[in-house]
């Protein structure tokens, strides 16, 4: 359950960016037809539902995995929100305060996540119960509704008109609506049914129940409901002459009684923002072809930008960020200077520090790096599973992991141990025979290298 919850959290964060974009776009596209807005919310829904997504360089999402899975296994807590300053801020704050086994109890990450996951599940359950109860109560109230015609029913227990039922939707009206107003109301509700709004609203609420912890999803649901009503109004208006619009708005006003907060099920006629809807009806003009085309283009751009994920971490970076001290068999540190290489093996107690340092690896992958002269610092790491890796800091400019170049943060590169100057402290280094780079694979266990300075390895690069 932890993994599922974590995945949902990450997905909701990605979707959150999309929601912000859609909210912004709605403001810009005020003159466009409302069904465009509803379509945009549909894109948000796709993002929330799809468990997988395509990677693309055109992705506008900062990060697909803001809270990495290794939070569950510890020992340190780092986020990858994709936004540099945020990452720095959070990781700096937590860097010193959160280290499992030292500053916080072991498995703290796991415990916290489990507790949150349980809380989340409880929330989902409560919302589901609320929706079910709402539905049942409503069905009970309209049981004695009498048929007016076709699928339209009237009941004394209905205060404002709505549609109920997913498979065979029925329109429920109060007895007090009559004549022309009734026809307008029926037209509106039938437009809802034709647009399948009774499905979309349910789907929206279902997603809300699952992602209830994300405030932007609530905002999205509220605005979705509003857009659905407005789009429905537009659909009805399209078929009316301007003279009938006044009668339609009158019917709107007459039905705007007893508004509820977020209703789980029914599509009530007067439910959402009557003033805004009346204004929209009175000012409605058929949108021009260019506007519709522009709106469609916007939708396509948004889809590509937000339904795709940013390029995934390369394997080398992933390895470095997930490196754990207990998986290290041996590690050597080497500094490449003009005067020759300095080299030493790391003691086992230092593995933890090494892993912590490398866990902070990051930076943009550079497929064609500049060739640099100058000093390098190397970590040659051999893992318990037999694989070997090499991590290099070239001139505090590049981080190189197993031949992949990354533009890492300068300050972090600077923080690597060892200096460039020739005045190295004695305890640090041995010299190798020819000053060349030591092949990672050729590194011997700690005690042997100290006694074998002229092993004479050939440089491998």
């Amino acid at each position: 359950m932890n993994k599922i919850f974590l995945e949902l959290v990450n997905r909701s964060i990605s979707a959150g960016w999309l929601v912000l974009a859609v909210l912004l776009l709605r403001l810009i596209l005020k003159r466009a037809p409302r069904w465009v807005s509803v379509l945009l919310w549909g894109i948000v829904a796709v993002r929330l539902i799809c468990p997988f997504s395509v990677e693309s360089a055109l992705s506008l999402i900062p990060s697909a995995e803001t809270i990495p899975e290794k939070v569950l296994s510890g020992p340190s807590f780092d986020i990858q929100s994709g936004i540099g300053p945020v990452d720095d801020l959070v990781n700096d704050y937590l860097g010193d305060r959160y280290f499992e086994g030292i500053t916080v109890p072991r498995h703290q990450g796991l415990h916290v996540m489990t507790a949150l996951a349980v809380l989340w599940a409880a929330g989902v359950f409560l919302l589901a119960v609320y929706a079910a109860a709402s539905y049942l109560r409503l069905w009970g109230r309209v049981r004695t509704a009498v048929r007016y015609r076709d699928n339209i029913f009237r009941s004394e227990n209905v205060s404002s008109p709505f549609v109920l039922g997913v498979v065979r939707p029925r329109i429920y009206l109060p007895f007090t609506i009559d004549g022309q107003a009734l026809e307008h109301v029926v037209a509106h509700e039938q437009a809802h049914i034709r647009r399948r709004d009774h499905w979309w609203k349910q789907l929206g609420f279902l997603l809300l129940a699952v992602y209830w912890f994300h405030p932007l999803i609530w905002a999205a649901y509220v605005v979705l409901c509003r857009d659905i009503e407005l789009a429905c109004d537009e659909k009805v208006i399209r078929g009316l002459e301007s003279g009938q619009r006044a009668a339609y708005t009158q019917a709107l006003l007459d039905c705007s009684v007893g508004r509820r907060a977020i209703a789980a099920c029914p599509l009530a006629f007067g439910e959402v923002g009557v003033k805004a809807r009346v204004k929209a009806v009175m000012h409605y003009r058929k949108p021009g072809r260019w506007l519709i085309a522009a709106a469609v283009i916007v939708c396509i751009v948004v889809s590509i930008g937000f339904l795709t994920d940013p390029a995934a971490e390369r394997a080398s970076l992933k390895w470095a960020r997930e490196l754990s001290a207990r998986d290290i068999a041996s590690a050597d540190f080497e500094i490449f200077l003009y005067s020759g290489n300095k080299f030493r093996s790391l003691a086992e107690e230092e593995f933890v520090g090494l892993a912590a340092l490398l866990n902070q690896s990051g930076g943009k992958y550079q497929p064609e790096p500049e060739v640099l002269d100058g000093g390098s610092k190397f970590f040659h790491i051999r893992m318990k599973d037999g694989t070997s890796h090499e991590v290099r800091n070239i001139g505090n400019v590049y981080l190189v992991i197993d031949e992949d170049y990354y533009e890492a943060d300068y300050r972090w590169l600077e923080s690597w141990p060892g200096t460039w100057t020739t005045g190295e402290p004695d305890e640090f280094f041995d010299r190798t025979a020819n000053g060349g780079v030591r092949e990672a694979a050729a590194i011997r266990p700690v005690d042997e290298t100290h006694t074998n300075p002229d092993s004479g390895e050939r440089p491998s690069k």
Binding site: R143, T144, A145, V146, R147, S155, E156, F175
Partner: protein, 123 residues
């Protein structure tokens, strides 16, 4: 007059009952399904509820009403006059005549009713 309250939907049911009584519950179910669109369980529930309230009686699966249509309608008028016309029947009639177009034939009928009341007969 304090007759048991009949809600709008239940009133529609009563209209069917008054027209077809005495009727079996099964017949009523069929009629309600046709004319009102009610499920079988709904009809049974309404029969039970109205029975408890004393509007109808259900014996040996035959349903008969305890309140006639005229009684129910009179009760509605009373309530309407009480609530909306401060208990003044003339005010109600005045409003009625002002609003509706009454044909000559209806006027005669009303006149006859008033005369009957004046002469002391009920109905």
């Amino acid at each position: 007059m304090s007759l048991p309250k009949i809600h709008e939907s239940e009133y529609r049911f009563c209209l069917i009952l008054w027209e077809h009584e005495p009727a079996t519950a099964a017949e009523l179910v069929r009629l309600c399904q046709e004319q009102l669109g009610w499920k079988r369980t709904t009809t049974y529930t309404v029969i039970k509820r109205l029975g408890e309230r004393g509007v109808l009686k259900n014996e040996n699966r035959t349903v008969t009403s305890l309140i006639s249509k005229e009684e129910a309608q009179a009760c509605e008028i009373d309530e309407l006059v009480e609530k909306k016309f401060e208990g003044s029947l003339p005010a109600f009639i005045a409003a009625f005549t002002r609003h509706q177009d009454i044909s000559g034939k209806e006027l005669d009928e009303v006149q006859r009713m008033i005369d009957r009341i004046r002469k002391g007969g009920a109905q």
